[in-house]
């Protein structure tokens, strides 16, 4: 009926997406600048539902961005700054080429700078949004602050990262926000709760890095640029929430308090308001109150204790962690500034060292390994120090981030700590007994497996029956009668079998789609059980081996 022929790919999904190259052309940016812009603005590609439709009929692998995102980038003022910078670089090159040294210095002095404030505000409209996303910023900041001046990034960046991370740590100390610490093989994980947000970050161990060659440091630097700005604003806000001046002065040693006033303020805050509530909520209220009390107790875990950190121990981490829980920390004067007291101080309660033995030991203090501090924090109680003396084989260090659900494998050490938390376990040697009990419990978990085997068992039973039948037949044909035996019937077992059969029959009647889903879920569950069983078996083998070893040793002696 006439009319204009409809063009393909003019409407629908094809117009909602744009490939990266076309987006780059639309923005008139080089690939590097486009990448930088995407990083700063937090733009990421999208996977279209129908790739072929979006890709104009082709199936070539392409990265797609949302058209909206790209349109949103079009009026970004920072794009102009990128262009300015490009021009600046060109001018500088020219000046170098002409050996106009004064021109070079003049250009360098007027190097175009751009601010990311508006981008931060735009990406994180509220402060809580920003806090929620600070994990990566912190990890990156801590990484960059450990870089040496090797030219992988600007020295100013390293210094800024160092400053911001130290400020952050000081905030965590003053607000006593730290919750969990984990010594992993990668580094030290910290988890803090700031304004209700759980924030986890990873700090590498204090070693120089061997910089990999296949890492694009420009990408990392761009991220760091954004993250430092974000962290600066967050720190400002956090400090001002504590009524503190930002930026603070001289913090790097992590020894001095930000403000002595803060602690008293917190005490007032500790008392919760009571609102008249209806009957149902009373329980909840009580639970909440209890939780609050627990938290408060955790915050004061090391209060009143006086620590001395030996020089072979990671000082910064320990000082940070200990001070987060109210302890006093000091170290050797020659190690770092800010040492509050000396080794000879008689009031020191714990001396943290990481060597097999120490020559000169004071009587009135515990000499412990650093793991004690971390384990105590994670278990929220001061663990018995006996396990952590110098030269003692340490108990395993468990991850505080694992929350075991039903059916998951729980290492026995965790069970022990849980018992300690409940206050059940005061005797150190009752652990072994406990362990054995647990093993019995674990046996019950195997029931699921039994179910699977039941089918086979039944078949076997039937076979047995048949054999019996055959026997009987032969006997009867021979004219022999043997006295029958009373078969004991386990009623419980019978019932179980019946139920299992019912279930099997019901499963047979499932629809195809549901059956698929069910099989998938059950596969996952079985795998979990299998993994847990494997771990238990491994543990048992290990324990047995160690036991026999011990026995052998005892015999030798």
């Amino acid at each position: 009926m006439g009319g204009v022929q409809k063009k393909k790919f003019d409407r629908g999904a094809a117009t909602n997406y744009i490939t990266r190259n076309r987006a780059r052309k639309k923005l008139q940016l080089s690939l590097a600048d486009f990448r930088r812009l995407c990083i700063l603005k937090g733009i990421y590609p999208h996977e279209p539902k129908h790739k072929k439709k979006v890709n104009r009929g082709s199936t070539a692998p392409r990265t797609f961005y949302l058209m909206k995102d790209i349109r949103f980038l079009l009026h970004e003022p920072i794009v102009g700054k990128f262009r300015e910078y490009k021009i600046f670089v060109r001018k500088l090159r020219k000046a170098y080429g002409k050996s106009e040294w004064s021109g070079v210095t003049r250009l360098k002095d007027n190097k175009p700078v751009y601010k990311l404030d508006h981008i931060i505000k735009e990406r994180y409209p509220t402060f809580i949004d920003a806090l929620r996303d600070v994990d990566d910023a912190l990890s990156m900041g801590f990484l960059f602050s450990t870089f040496a001046r090797t030219g992988k990034c600007h020295v100013q960046t390293i210094q800024l990262c160092r400053r911001l991370t130290v400020e952050w740590m000081n905030y965590v100390i003053t607000s006593r926000a730290l919750k969990k610490v984990f010594l992993s093989i990668k580094g030290i994980y910290y988890q803090a709760e700031v304004l209700g947000q759980t924030i986890t970050w990873l700090v590498p161990y204090q070693f120089s890095h061997d910089h990999p060659t296949d890492v694009d440091y420009r990408v990392m630097a761009t991220f760091t640029e954004m993250y430092t700005t974000l962290m600066g604003f967050i720190n400002f806000r956090l400090y001002s929430s504590l009524n503190l001046v930002y930026p603070p002065k001289k913090l790097s040693a992590l020894s001095s308090c930000l403000a002595r006033v803060v602690s008293s303020v917190e005490e007032d805050e500790a008392q919760m308001d009571h609102f008249p509530v209806e009957g149902e909520d009373v329980e909840q209220m009580e639970a909440r109150e209890k939780e609050h009390k627990e938290q408060e107790a955790q915050r004061r875990l090391f209060e009143g204790l006086k620590f001395f950190v030996n020089r072979e121990v990671p000082r910064e981490s320990l000082a940070f962690v200990l001070r987060c829980f109210g302890a006093q920390v000091s170290w050797d004067k020659s190690l770092c500034i800010g040492a509050a007291y000396d080794v000879t101080d008689e009031t020191i309660t714990h001396h943290i060292a990481d060597r097999p033995n120490m020559e000169k030991q004071y009587i009135n203090r515990y000499y412990i390994q650093p793991q004690w501090v971390y384990d105590s924090i994670n278990s929220k109680i001061c663990l018995p120090v006996e396990d952590y003396f110098l030269g003692v084989t340490l108990p395993p260090h468990l991850s505080p981030f694992v929350e075991e659900k039903e059916g998951d494998y729980v290492p026995p050490e965790k069970l022990r700590i849980m018992a300690l938390q409940r206050g059940e376990l005061t005797d150190f040697f009752s652990i072994l007994v406990q362990d054995e009990d647990e093993e019995d419990d674990e046996d019950d978990d195997d029931e699921d497996e039994e179910e699977e085997e039941e089918e086979e068992e039944e078949e076997e039973e039937e076979k047995e029956d048949e054999q019996n039948l055959k026997k009987m037949e032969t006997q009867r044909s021979q004219g022999k009668v043997t006295p029958g035996k009373v078969k004991k019937e386990d009623r419980g077992r019978l019932e179980q079998e019946e139920k299992a059969e019912e279930k099997r029959l019901a499963i047979m009647m499932m629809k195809k789609k549901e059956k698929y889903l069910y099989d998938k879920i059950m596969f996952g569950k079985k795998r979990k059980v299998r993994e847990a069983n494997k771990l238990t078996a491994k543990r048992k083998a290990h324990d047995d081996a160690s036991k026999t070893d011990k026995k052998k040793k005892a015999k030798k002696q």
Binding site: G42, T63, V113, Y124, I185, S240, Q371, E462, K503, L505
Partner: protein
């Protein structure tokens, strides 16, 4: 020209230095002297002392003189082995050649020497400066005995002569070359051996004088040839850094040095213009810049909690990194450490397939923990993930698997149904293809591949009668009419009608009577099937009639009234696949004119005049009275194996070789109401219970599944199908399990026969 002489002096020692030590000793040791020569040499020595330059000059000239000085230098400076040889040659030739000149050659010089003797050294030096050095250069008139020039002397290696003298005559080589022995003797006896040097150009030997040897020694030590030359004389600077009071030049100042520069003016005005236009900004101080970069303030002072993220609602926040588990600890519990095989398996896996990016490790103390080598890598990968990975919200359905299981009535509530195996009927030696129960439920009939048909008493599992039929029995069927005791057996191309002679005698009698009362019709048409009455031994075994078919018969089925029976002869693309026989009139007919595919099995409707024909993929329902097809049921399966019709006649089940069981509700649709995939292998047989709401399916996996299938009278209510029991007992032999099932007509009992040559009763 002191400079040139200096150069010469410097060059020579180098040449001397480059000599190999052995050669040096050789030259120094060669010393042969005659008294008169000695005198002359002394004179020369004196001269040499006085005029070292001349010596050098002459030596240079003697070396062939065509070379310029530079070329010589360049040659000398090369320290290559080839050039070294040349240098040595030159040295050996040059030094002595210049000095020795034994007799007449130096007569002029001696005269000169005599003249000069009176002068002081200083005067002589002055004189030397003034006089042209070539004046007493004797190089021109030097007796050049050999005129070949400066060429490698190896060229004359093969000739008896080594060149030509001034007269153009050949200079012959010494007649006898010195051999090693001569040389040795010479070395032992001749005290001047060490200072004797062979002249290659002339072939003669030259003995160096003491002064020449001294000179050689000095040069070797790197000293100047002249003993008296002071190399450390004070320098006279003709230009110094000190500012003098007097100008260097006397030139008056230019005018342009008083007036301002135009170029500068242009430059300045350019800068001024640029500043005015804002192109050049005054430079900022460092503090200013630092402050500008790192100035923080309360960014969220006026935050709007309702503000959606700057862009749009589609934004998905980046997922947080997974938190580490126990295995990442520096000191994990021992069960998390990988064993040797696990570690190997981990290493062999592709890095992308690995569950963890690291190997769990245990360290005895925190001090021993090294840095993590992939730290920067992992952070970088996280960065890449953040800006390169498409993000998607995944709806995770949290389904309780128990909820997925359909809620069915408990099998307990659906009793009775067969639950246990109670009897096994043994006796057949081949696999049993078919079984059938008598309408009273007292007898059981089975046909086997061992060529026998056996009659069993159901209750006692005794075999009452065995009939040899002479071929594998494909199918057996007991006449459903309780008033007749007749059995149909399909063997090869025949269908036998047997009278088992079991049970009530009256019944048997009536059956016999029925069969014998047949009156053959007058006119006999063309018969498809030949009906023959059995006689003799066959008759005594029980066979009454034999229906000989043109092809092998697969199945026989009785109509519920017991007069008609149908036989199936599956044959692709043949119209003669199904035959319907009438026993009372001994007549057979072919109901179908055209083939509709390979017929698998047929069945009569229990109540109405319908006829079911199952082909490979569908079931056709024919109305026998109207003689037309009423329905075609699509059994969504590849190959139908068996079929059974519900006693009420409205439902049909079809078993198929692709493990499925299709339940058709004829009132509902031509598509299966339910497909049951209970079996793991091909379904071989299906059966309905005549009175109880039960049906069963037998399969090659050796199991019989009994299902409860209630059919409601209400048309709107769908049948209820619940599997109630899986019966096992048959052993799978040759990949064949249970081949046929049938229910007891009145009890909830089930018979099954299988490839293991047994029949089993489940009650």
């Amino acid at each position: 020209m002191p400079t040139t002489s200096d150069q010469d002096a410097k060059v020579e020692p180098r040449a001397a230095m480059s000599k190999t030590p052995e050669k040096r000793s050789k030259t120094s040791e060669k010393r042969s002297k005659t008294p008169e020569k000695r005198r002359a040499e002394e004179e020369e020595d004196e001269e040499e002392e006085l005029l070292p330059v001349d010596v050098e000059g002459s030596s240079l000239a003697l070396e062939g003189s065509s070379d310029s000085e530079e070329s010589l230098f360049s040659g000398l400076e090369e320290s290559g082995s080839d050039s070294e040889e040349d240098d040595e040659d030159e040295e050996e030739e040059g030094v002595p050649g210049s000095a020795v000149d034994p007799d007449g050659g130096n007569s002029q010089e001696t005269v000169e020497e005599g003249e000069e003797r009176g002068m002081t050294e200083k005067e002589r030096a002055l004189l030397k400066d003034k006089t042209d050095e070539y004046d007493h250069d004797s190089s021109d008139e030097e007796d050049i005995r050999n005129t070949v020039g400066n060429i490698p002397m190896e060229w004359y290696k093969d000739f008896p002569h080594i060149g030509y003298d001034l007269d153009g005559k050949k200079i012959l080589k010494p007649i006898r070359n010195k051999d090693e022995l001569d040389d040795f003797l010479d070395k032992m006896e001749n005290p001047d051996y060490w200072r004797t040097v062979p002249d290659k150009q002339t072939g003669s030997e030259i003995v160096l004088t003491d002064d020449q040897v001294d000179l050689v020694h000095r040069l070797q030590r790197g000293q100047f040839g002249d003993v008296n030359f002071n190399q450390y004389q004070p320098t006279v600077e003709f230009f110094s850094g000190e500012v003098m009071i007097h100008p260097v030049t006397n030139r008056p100042e230019d005018k342009r040095s008083f007036i301002p520069s135009l170029i500068e003016k242009a430059k300045v005005s350019k800068l001024v213009h640029a500043i005015k236009m804002g192109w050049i900004r005054p430079r900022r101080s460092k503090e200013e810049r630092a402050e500008e970069a790192g100035r923080y303030y309360d960014l969220w002072a006026s935050e709007d909690p309702n503000a959606i993220l700057g862009r749009h609602k589609m934004h998905v926040p980046a997922p947080k990194l997974r938190l580490p588990g126990h295995e990442e600890s520096y000191n994990p519990p021992p069960e998390y450490l990988l064993s040797e095989e696990e570690r190997l398996a981990w290493e062999q896996l592709d890095p992308e397939d690995r569950k963890t990016t690291y190997l769990p490790r245990k360290f005895s103390c925190l001090r021993a923990v090294p840095s993590y080598s992939r730290f920067i890598h992992e952070r970088f990968e996280r960065c890449l993930d953040l800006y390169l990975c498409p993000r998607q919200r995944k709806m995770r359905v949290n389904v309780n698997p128990e909820d997925l299981i359909p809620k069915l009535p408990k099998p307990k509530d659906l009793q009775p149904f067969p639950t246990t195996q109670s009897l096994v009927y043994r006796g057949h030696t081949g696999l049993i293809r078919s079984i059938s129960v008598s309408p009273t439920g007292q007898w059981l009939l089975s046909g086997s591949d061992d060529g026998t048909v056996r009659f069993w008493e159901v209750v006692s599992s005794r075999c009452l009668k065995t009939v040899q039929v002479g071929g594998a029995v494909r199918s057996v069927a007991w006449n459903p009419n309780p008033a007749v005791c007749l059995v149909a057996v399909a063997v090869g191309c025949d269908v036998l009608l047997l009278c088992p002679s079991l049970g009530d005698r009256l019944l048997i009698g009536s059956t016999e009577q029925l069969l014998s009362s047949y009156q053959p019709p007058e006119e006999k048409g063309e018969e498809l099937v030949v009906w023959t009455t059995a006689e003799g031994e066959e008759h005594s075994q029980g066979v009454r009639l034999r229906l000989t078919h043109p092809k092998a018969v697969q199945q026989v089925v009785w109509h519920s009234k017991g007069d008609y029976l149908s036989s199936v002869m599956p044959q692709p693309s043949s119209h003669l696949q199904v035959l319907v026989h009438q026993v009372s009139r001994r007549r057979s007919q072919n109901p179908f004119r055209r083939s509709k595919g390979l017929v698998q099995c047929v069945s009569f409707h229990p109540l109405r005049p319908y006829f079911f024909v199952a082909t490979q993929r569908s079931v056709r329902v024919y109305n026998l009275i109207k003689q037309e097809m009423t329905k075609k049921l699509q059994a969504n399966s590849k190959w139908i194996s068996s079929m059974a019709v519900h006693p009420a006649g409205d439902n049909v089940i079809c078993g198929s070789y692709d493990c499925r069981l299709a339940w058709f509700d004829l009132d509902l649709s031509t598509k299966p109401y339910k497909m049951l995939r209970h079996h793991k292998k091909a379904v071989r047989g299906v059966a309905y219970h005549p009175s109880y709401p039960l049906f069963a399916s037998a399969s090659d996996d050796g199991s019989v599944i009994v299902c409860h299938g209630t059919v409601y009278n209400d048309l709107l209510q769908n049948p209820l199908i619940v599997p109630v029991k899986v019966l096992r007992g048959h052993t799978v032999t040759n990949d064949l399990g249970v081949l046929d099932v049938t229910f007891h007509p009145s009890q909830p009992w089930l018979f099954s026969c299988g490839a293991d040559a047994t029949i089993r009763l489940f009650t």
